[in-house]
């Protein structure tokens, strides 16, 4: 089954130019999909359309088979959630505990289960000792952990991360990425991650490349990175391993198209150290 199906989707902010222009894609249930594209390419707009935060102009969106319409909106939001880049814009509660509770109350979780759920998800993101702190007193990375806990706690099947780790420090980023991977693996969470982290892209199941409001490329990371010059043309990055391979080729050194840095090091050393 597909977690998300999008068909011929259009959206315009100014009624002059389409920010999302005839976009169609499927996201299989339980997959880890990354969406990449330069700033302004339309990837965040697509994410907001999936949640019904923006109203589509034309086209179809189905979440776990259910048509996204105004009438279905609350049911849709029991299936799919989003974590944004800037955690300051997503706080409601006066303590971390209240903030996580807010979403649960909205989604009608039984009162007697709420405390346990709050504790469980605060622990998952390493924020247990801050449960009674004011969100405004937390650092940026800590706030983002709370925002992620608040959405995860609602036990949705599909989560969209809109550059959710881009404001965290490397340790925080690693922790949150591990957490997302764990939820993806153990609880079959469908992850849709809008990201500039090319290493995350390389490890995902599927990649969707958005450019000028359209889907420019879609496929597995290996398929996508085969188009490295197109990616650079779309102002995107390519993994280090491709860059070093290009530079070596330009100097006449032959290396295979492995994606693994250890193997690349083996090859280079064999080649260079060979008597």
């Amino acid at each position: 089954m597909n977690a998300v199906e999008v068909r011929n989707l259009y959206y315009s902010y100014d009624r002059k130019k389409y920010a999302v222009n005839d976009v169609s894609f499927d996201i299989p249930a339980g997959s880890y999909t990354t969406i990449i594209g330069h700033n302004g390419s339309g990837k965040s707009t697509i994410a907001k359309l999936l949640l019904g935060l923006l109203e589509k102009e034309k086209g179809e969106i189905r979440i776990e088979g259910l048509d996204l319409t105004l009438e279905n909106l609350s049911e849709i939001r029991n299936k799919i959630g989003i974590v944004f880049q800037n955690p300051d814009n997503q706080f409601i509660g006066s303590t971390v505990r209240d903030d996580i509770a807010f979403g649960l109350e909205n989604h009608c979780f039984p009162q007697n289960e709420m405390d346990a759920i709050i504790e469980e998800y605060a622990a998952k993101v390493g924020m247990t000792r801050f449960l009674d702190s004011e969100p405004t007193k937390l650092s940026g990375g800590q706030k983002q952990r709370v925002a992620i806990a608040s959405v995860l706690a609602m036990k949705l099947n599909i989560l969209v991360f809109d550059e959710a780790t881009s404001m965290l420090d490397p340790t925080g980023r690693r922790d949150i990425n591990n957490l997302i991977n764990e939820l993806h693996r153990d609880q079959n969470l469908t992850v849709i991650s809008i990201t500039h982290d090319i290493e995350e892209v390389a490890q995902s199941d599927n990649v969707i490349v958005v450019d000028k409001g359209r889907i420019a490329l879609a496929g597995t990371p290996k398929e996508i990175f085969r188009h490295q010059y197109e990616l650079i043309g779309m102002k995107l990055d390519i993994p280090f391993i491709y860059k070093i391979r290009n530079a070596l080729k330009a100097k006449g050194l032959k290396v295979s198209d492995t994606l693994d840095m250890e193997r690349m090091a083996d090859e280079v050393c064999q080649y260079v150290l060979k008597k």
């Binding site: 700033n39 007193k137 420090d169 490397p170 280090f240 050393c269 150290l273």
Partner: protein, 284 residues
């Protein structure tokens, strides 16, 4: 002249249940004329540290010296306006601070506020906009219509228009796409090499530190863990481990080559140089 912290403590909300010591006994000297990266985990005090440099925060204990200014804990400081003229601080997500109707007005606001005439302020604003790569087509546009990267450039132009001697940027590339981020970082590098502006950049991006910075200051729980030049930092695995960073890809790749018996010279820190070295090594 330099930037000096002497035994600086800073405490948020002192004498309340929320009291939090964000800087502890900081001794630090940052040289002028360089690009210095301030790195460290979330909550390590990076933002708190740089906000002392234009007296947005005053030390709870100790002394901060910036240019010819000396800010002492517990003493009233009268020359804030002059200090803020010379030390430009660009906040994280600075694009949220644009407020004027047009880009040109927004950038000219600073110089006007510091006493420049309308004409002078506009002249300075135009020069600053050119520096950040926004031409006259942008002058009359509303800041709200711009893309995220353009908004941030506008905010930076607003600071540059005041002609700062020291430019401080708090995570200036966060949230930009890879090429936007690279353009932003090369702009700061250029401001340093061409105009001699001292630049301090708070960042988490080690690729940027490697490519664009001269010095590295590592903060940890409100204290200076180390201060070294960029090359020494990325040459020492022990330093990187102590700083708890994920080394740039080229440094990781060099470590893999070395562990396989290929001795790569320490000053090779770019892909081009590494490929050149490997091809020369092969020919021998």
């Amino acid at each position: 002249m330099s930037i000096r912290f002497e035994k600086v403590d800073f405490e948020y909300s002192p004498n309340t249940p929320f009291a939090h010591l964000a800087l502890k006994d900081v001794d630090l000297e940052i040289p002028m004329g360089k690009v210095t990266a301030i790195i460290g985990a979330t909550g390590s005090g990076k933002t708190t540290l740089v906000q002392h440099l234009n007296a947005l925060l005053m030390p709870t204990k100790g002394t901060v010296e910036v240019l010819d200014h000396r800010i002492e804990a517990g003493k009233k400081y009268a020359r804030i306006k002059d200090l803020r003229h010379k030390v430009g601080l660009v906040f994280q997500f600075s694009e949220y601070q644009l407020f004027e109707e047009t880009v040109l007005k927004d950038v000219a606001f600073g110089p006007k506020n510091f006493g420049a005439s309308e004409e002078e302020a506009n002249e300075k604003a135009k020069r600053a906009l050119t520096t950040v790569g926004l031409d006259e087509h942008y002058y009359e546009r509303s800041p709200l219509e711009l893309s995220g990267g353009q908004k941030r450039r506008t905010a930076i132009a607003g600071i540059l228009a005041m002609g700062p001697e020291i430019l401080i940027l708090d995570e200036p590339a966060a949230g930009l796409d890879p090429q936007g981020a690279a353009q932003m970082m090369s702009l700061f590098r250029r401001l340093n090499t061409e105009k001699g502006i001292t630049v301090l950049i708070v960042t988490h991006n080690m690729e940027h530190v490697l490519e664009y910075c001269d010095e590295v200051v590592v903060l940890d729980e409100g204290q200076v863990l180390m201060h070294t030049d960029m090359k020494t930092f990325f040459e020492n695995e022990e330093y990187m481990e102590r700083a708890n960073i994920n080394p740039p890809a080229i440094v990781r790749f060099k470590a893999l080559l070395r562990s396989r018996g290929l001795d790569v010279p320490s000053d090779i820190l770019s892909i081009e140089d590494l490929a050149g070295f490997l091809s020369r090594r092969k020919k021998k």
